[in-house]
């Protein structure tokens, strides 16, 4: 099997899995869900590292890769931290335990 063919299988299964998972997310949490998926899509950092860190990378790759690592690290860090910050605000009862 060619690698892209295998990739298409993976893609198809991941899309269905994504649909099933997201459908179960409570509407309460749609905002943190979106910031979490933002953070997950910062996985682009993997691609950015690969093109920047390559042996003898041309300067174009270095420059573009550098910007890409910066942009996706910003997303990654702010995405996870803000998701956590939002979720911490959801409390079931009034904060009585003191």
């Amino acid at each position: 099997m060619k690698s892209y063919e295998f990739g298409l299988w993976v893609f198809m299964l991941a899309v269905f899995l994504g649909f099933e998972l997201i459908r179960r997310v409570s509407p309460l949490l749609h905002t943190p869900l979106m910031s979490l998926t933002n953070a997950i899509s910062a996985i682009s950092v993997v691609g950015a590292i690969l093109i920047t860190g390559e042996k003898d990378a041309p300067s174009l790759s270095l420059v573009l890769g550098f910007i890409a690592i910066f942009a996706s690290t910003t997303n990654l860090v702010s995405g996870y931290l803000i998701t956590d910050r939002i979720i911490k605000m959801f409390k079931k009862r009034e904060p009585e335990k003191k």
């Binding site: 899309v15 996985i43 890769g65 890409a68 996870y80 939002i86 979720i87 959801f90």
Partner: protein, 497 residues
Amino acid sequence: MDSVLPALYILAAAGFILALKWMSSPATARRGVMAGEAGMLLAVIGTLLRYEVVNYQWIFIAFFLGLAVGVPIAYLTPMTAVPQRTAISHAFGALAAALIGTAEYYRHMPHGFTMGALVLETLLGFLTFTASLMAFAKLQELLPTRPMTYRGQNLVNVSLFGLAVVVGVALVISPEQTWMFPIFMTLALLFGFLLIIPIGGADMPTVIALLNSYAGLSASAMGFVLDNNLLIIAGALDGSSGLILSIIMSRAMNRSFTNILFGAFGQLHTSAAQATARPVHSATPEEAAEILDSARTVIVVPGYGMAVAQAQHKLRELLDALTRRGVDVKFAIHPVAGRMPGHMNVLLAEADVPYDKLFAMDEINSEFPMADVALIIGANDVVNPAAQTDKNSPIAGMPILEAYKARTVMVIKRSLSPGFAGIDNDLYYMDKTLMLFGDAKSVLTSIVKELGAVPRAVENGNGDAPHFHDARMPDATGKLQDSNLSTFSTRTAEKKV
């Protein structure tokens, strides 16, 4: 080593899947974030250790810069500005994907299927980049939030997109024609920019969700270019999440994607908003407090106007005061309340409203007929009965919160001006509806005060209260301060009981 690294990627993908799974309920959501973080850490380590990666200095400098920018964003963004942050992070994510695609094109110049994926990656990446920047500018109100239209707009947009696709296909057929790539890039960037111009503030939740989906799909396409399954999986999860959210949003407004992207809502119907002078019943906060006090069940319908007036903390005080008096209070949240999916829940959670008081539209609609009072604060179109009764209304068929079925309806609103859809609301003219005119925060303050959350007024109300502008209640500055102080003291007193 070579057998360990794929394992790291597989674990990372599992982490992302668990992260989404645990987002299903607030009880497990924090665990979900941790699973996601762990997944990302494994993915980054697994990549840094790969034998192809030999130069680290630029990588670490970029890491550090991203950290320096990302951490302050995460901690300093106010909850009302979360939609803007989301839009800008879509822009960053899409830019990263597009630039990686560009670098890969000039470095390796792939052919066939891989080139197709690369074209898709850069097309989605560049258009999402400018579109998200525009969405950010509109949400941040750097640009006017109302739709901007001009003659032939749709024709321009469609032909621009068509042209971008044609050049893209030409690039797939003959990747050697490098002169085409900058043209392709420019077309994609321009299209993203023009796509958002006609879209108004009310449609932002749908558009943000759609851009989320594009950014994810772009990352997934990158996975095909770089032959990396982890990217394919993470991007596909993100893409399907954004797609589902935008479907939920557009259903909640009873509109199709094409209508949102090409319809320029609001602009078309402003002429329908004729201000016919019809009589309304208005009430004072004192009267409202009396009715609320004697009610058994109250359903609050908050809209974005409530958040604009920064009234969520006052609303929470009202919840406290009413709960203390044995009134059952629930909050009805329309899917498009706020500026992004789920935004209203976050704003109320921030004000310490327990989340088991927050109900989605399908859960709460059957309860309105049993409710003594529906209290509407800063919401308009989402409670407009015309959506169900008037087939010619621009919002006909849009699912609404059936507040009009409650025994008494109270509306806190600055004036009778129409909402986003630019149409009048019949709810305001019903016999059982009481209008409380004024700024949401000051009206709520007065109601809470009347409810006796304040047993004894504080004497030194010297008018240094927070900003307050409402000509209708000249003496409210002092009042505001009083009730701030005294509700605080009653609450602390109560905790000791």
